[in-house]
């Protein structure tokens, strides 16, 4: 011992004192499920790709989308964005414009010519996809990337299904559809158009697996009493013929019967074909209308009017007769016996769509009572090896749902072909608004997309909504609160009174040193995203 006077011990460091033993609760990092991703019918990890886009990593963001959805430029236009309805930022100011950023990324990919991640080693298994709509092509994309040999057959002369033959060009330009389909075919998918599959049983024997994505292409038939010379069309056929470049003559006065998005698409298409003031007749009230509000608002801007609480009782050559309805206490429309005649050159029926099941009737147990293809939660039909999804099965009929079905079915078909059970890890707990510490987020109002002026909207099929420019898309991506997911704000690292958190570097997040963490919980309380939780220590 060679210490100075009155000193008996060497200098020690406090590091010898492991204060972690004081802890009764331990902070643990976790990724919660953000509400946007939970709401996405296509199964996109939305928070994750917004994170990529936040620092300008647009290609990485696009690749993250593509792992779920091979049609970002399409869904960036036509999806009804349930993600935005679920967005926690809506409780703070306005929801993040996820839809606009997705479109920007989709368009950027087409412009820059980005190609999907490489295809896996060929498995030698052959899969037939029936229907080249969003669901069939989504399944084809994922199956091809998993290494399977995919053939897609479709009855129409061009691929796209309802994206091409159901959605008008002013909402979804054809070059966008073509660009994203071309990218899927470039994976080595064989496309056979103008080919009808009329025997599923035979196809199931020819291929190792079949995915039925035949859609719901038949306009629902309702018998409307009609006099001689009454001109009655169905909306699906009208939209198909417009898309195929053979629009029918409609006259100036067009009445559309129905209340869904298809009814509005038909009325707005009629407006563009020369109908001066198209009228939509719907038997219930505005709040019960199945069409999306944004579609209705745009239709009204373009001069479409809606007659609520009315049914079409009779159709003649120059007029239709409508009956006023009343809602009963259960909300069902009931006739009142009050009739009125309206001038009409053409009546368009938009009363729902049915599945063309002629190819399926030979296979027992294939259809349910409603005429839809019957599937379990794993998308399997009654016939082993045959799977189904999209509009042909029960569920929401949107492009995005169809794409999501295709991706999920592809994963199950892959598991079926490999003979292994599909492993789907349980979703982590939800990132609800109350878990966020919103004082840390800057105030930032949403950005808006430019729109085509009204004069051109009512006379052409040009696209209405413009895209965001790169600056605005970046701004919008940065409005994301990153709910339930660490975005490396450094709050936990900076605010730990015990230096018990180690910063691992960009993209690597943080780790907690439980030798020194006293379990005070400051990191949990001050995490903006709610991505840390406290767990009780074992006593």
């Amino acid at each position: 011992m060679d210490e100075p006077f009155a000193i008996t011990l060497d200098v020690g460091s406090s590091l010898a004192n492991h204060t972690g033993t004081w802890r009764t609760e331990r902070p643990v990092y976790l990724d919660r499920t953000p509400p946007c991703s939970a709401a996405c019918p296509a199964g996109e990890q939305i928070q994750r790709w917004l994170y990529d886009a936040e620092d300008g990593g647009y290609e990485a963001a696009w690749r993250t989308i593509m792992r779920a959805n091979p049609f970002p430029a399409v869904t960036g236009r036509v999806c009804y964005h349930p993600c935005e309805s679920a967005c926690n930022r809506g409780e703070l100011d306005t929801e993040v414009g996820i839809h606009s950023v997705e479109r920007f990324l989709g368009d950027e990919a087409v412009r820059a010519g980005w190609t999907p991640d490489p295809v896996a080693t060929a498995t030698g298994r052959r899969v037939l996809v029936v229907g080249a709509g969003p669901s069939g092509l989504s399944a084809a994309h994922h199956l091809a990337r998993l290494g399977h040999a995919v053939t897609v057959r479709d009855a129409q002369p061009q691929p796209g299904g309802m994206m091409r033959y159901g959605i008008p060009a002013y909402r979804l330009p054809r070059d966008v559809i073509d660009a994203e389909i071309t990218r899927i075919l470039a994976l080595g998918v064989t496309l056979e158009t103008g080919t009808t599959v009329d025997d599923v049983e035979a196809a199931a024997r020819e291929f190792d697996a079949v995915y039925l994505a035949v859609g719901a292409q038949l306009g629902h038939r309702t018998a409307i009493p009609a006099g001689d010379g009454a001109r009655i069309l169905d909306a699906v056929a009208l939209l198909h013929d417009v898309a195929a470049g053979q629009p029918p003559a409609l006259g100036r006065r067009v009445v559309v019967y129905g209340g869904g998005d298809t009814a509005l698409d038909a009325a707005r298409s009629a407006r563009r074909l020369g109908a001066t003031d198209p009228l939509v007749v719907y038997r219930r009230t505005h709040d019960r209308m199945p069409a999306h509000d944004a579609e209705l608002a745009q239709a009204v801007e373009e001069g479409v009017t809606v007659r609520w609480l009315s049914t079409v009782a009779h159709a003649d050559a120059e007029t239709i007769t409508v009956e006023r309805m009343e809602l009963d206490e259960r909300g069902f429309p009931q006739p009142t016996g009050e009739f009125e005649d309206l001038a009409a050159d053409t009546l368009v029926l938009a009363l729902g769509q049915d599945v063309d099941s002629s190819a399926l009737t030979g296979v027992p147990g294939m259809l349910d009572e409603a005429g839809l293809v019957r599937t379990g939660p794993d998308f399997a039909t009654a016939r082993p090896g045959v799977f189904a999804g999209g509009d042909a099965v029960a569920g929401e009929r949107t492009v995005t749902t169809a794409i999501g079905n295709g991706a999920q079915a592809a994963a199950r078909i892959d598991a079926y072909l490999r003979g292994v059970p599909l492993k789907t890890p349980p979703l982590p707990p939800p990132a609800t608004f109350d878990l966020l510490n919103t004082v840390y987020y800057s105030d930032a109002p949403a950005s808006v997309r430019p729109r085509l002026d009204l004069a051109r909207r009512v006379s052409t099929f040009d696209e209405i909504e413009g895209g965001l420019d790169a600056d605005t898309a970046l701004f919008e991506a940065r409005r994301c609160l990153s709910c339930g997911t660490c975005f490396e704000c450094d709050n936990c690292y900076g605010m730990c009174p015990d230096n018990a958190i180690t910063k691992l570097g960009p993209g690597l997040r943080f780790t907690i040193d439980y030798d020194y963490c006293k379990g005070c919980g400051i990191c949990v309380a001050e995490c903006p995203a709610g991505a840390i939780t406290l767990e009780p220590e074992e006593s």
Binding site: L9, V11, Y441, R478, C480, C489, D490, K518, V524
Partner: protein
Amino acid sequence: MAAQPIRFFQTGTHVVGNRLLDPADRSVQADEHRFNSLTSGHRACQGCGEALGARYVLDAAMRATGGQVVVVNATGCLEVFSTPYPETAWRLPWLHSLFGNAPAVATGVAAALHAQGRDDVRVVAQAGDGGTVDIGFGALSGMFERGDDVLFVCYDNEAYMNTGVQRSGATPPAAATTTTPAVGPAPGAPFGQGKDLPRLAMAHEIPYVATATVADLRDLEAKVTRAMGIHGPRYLHVLVPCPLGWGSASRDTIRLARLARDTALFPVFEAEFGEVTAVSMLRERRPVREYLEPQGRYAHLFGDPGRPDLVAGIQTLADRNVRRYGLMEEH
């Protein structure tokens, strides 16, 4: 750096780091290689605001001076929890003498360094509120008055916590301590007593006086950096919530500091030569009740019947701060 409009960065500078900012614009605490002047293993309570405040201040001072800092510490929590013999949690030169003489010791250290021609080494003295506003105040006033080249930092947790939560000259009205219990017609610390040290420091017309909280790291670091760029006596008063003495949850330390600022009970400002030169405007003003209610030391003000008259009295103090420092936009 030339002023330019900052692009929207999700959380801007509200958070400690922010990966979207240029590294040069990030805080000292966000640096994965930060100095950690006060290292792990110290014996401060869970959620100690003072341990956090001391690291914030000294890490910023180390960066501002290129690592040339000597620290003089008064007696108090900070001294006791960091240096139980023979351990130390300090990673820089650090001296402790007595409770009341830290400003005088710091004066001596600065003079000694000057005599050795080591004017590149800067002196920071630090104390709790007891060591600053009560026991060390005479020495501190002398240090200001003589114009010594020392930054004096007070970590204010509003009572003598280390010895058992006794009232100090910085204990706010109505707060219960062991020497001002919540009994009688005027429970807790009396209204109309105590010392407002930032204003007393301003009265000395020293070059720089500033207040800050542990809830606004960027602001605190900017003030330390500014102070280290000035010579002469400087005073920094940092509000550091104390879960033990305030009867608050350890996880609420930052939240309470933020509420102290947002209720205007703790005005955040800078002053030069006796005049206020900058204030932190209230982003969103909160009623004092939100700040008081989570704290056990104010529990007697709430419940049935509670003391709404005293809560209103505290609100009056906040309103006066808003007027005195101009904390709200004029309408």
